[in-house]
Amino acid sequence: SQTIHQWPATLVQPVGSPLSLECTVEGTSNPNLYWYRQAAGRGLQLLFYSIGIGQISSEVPQNLSASRPQDRQFILSSKKLLLSDSGFYLCAWRSGRVNTEAFFGQGTRLTVV
């Protein structure tokens, strides 16, 4: 069966520090991968999605970037964190077939101080 791992679960980082959140998927190949941010009272905002290695699409301009160095690995990064980057970050994967749902990791609570 497929599983998705996201870490760390919680993270407190100072303003201006770098960020690296990692997400890996097991039990499937060539998944679509997604990063979402959930800010308080603002729902789930799609940040990046990827349909293959090295193929990253950004949904909104921001202080973050994403990379997909391997088929089942998706990394969310920042060179210098801002206070506004605080939030709950969720990684998700979907099969490449159209009629499938997304499966989510347990999320990372990022607090920038």
């Binding site: 997604y34 009272g41 789930l44 949904e59 998700a92 749902e101 999320g107």
Partner: protein
């Protein structure tokens, strides 16, 4: 552009009462629609999904949803709410050649004893 709207930010119902959570979508073609539930600090769990065919779909935990093309809606219902249903509920749509996966802003459900 594709979008999902959940007009109710908070809803409070009494335990045993019926529930309906609203979801409206904006998408040119036939959408793929989903409902997810999120417990505090957790990832998202799929409740049900609609791709085609019967417009009334059944999900887990006694939930159902009805797709109404004429109203661009996909409302979630449950005939009798349990205290354990208190959570945040998200409607989602697959769009953009189905690689993108967008969520509404969510509805927080409180259940009164």
């Amino acid at each position: 552009a594709q979008s999902v709207t959940q007009p109710d930010i908070h809803i409070t119902v009494s335990e045993g009462a019926s529930l309906e959570l609203r979801c409206n979508y904006s998408y040119g073609a036939t959408p793929y629609l989903f409902w997810y539930v999120q417990s505090p600090g957790q990832g998202l769990q799929l409740l049900l999904k609609y791709f085609s065919g019967d417009t009334l779909v059944q999900g887990i935990k006694g939930f159902e949803a009805e797709f109404k093309r004429s109203q661009s809606s996909f409302n979630l219902r449950k005939p009798s709410v349990h205290w354990s249903d208190a959570a945040e509920y998200f409607c989602a749509v697959a769009a953009g050649n189905f690689n993108k996966f967008y969520f509404g802003s969510g509805t927080k459900l409180n259940v009164k004893p």
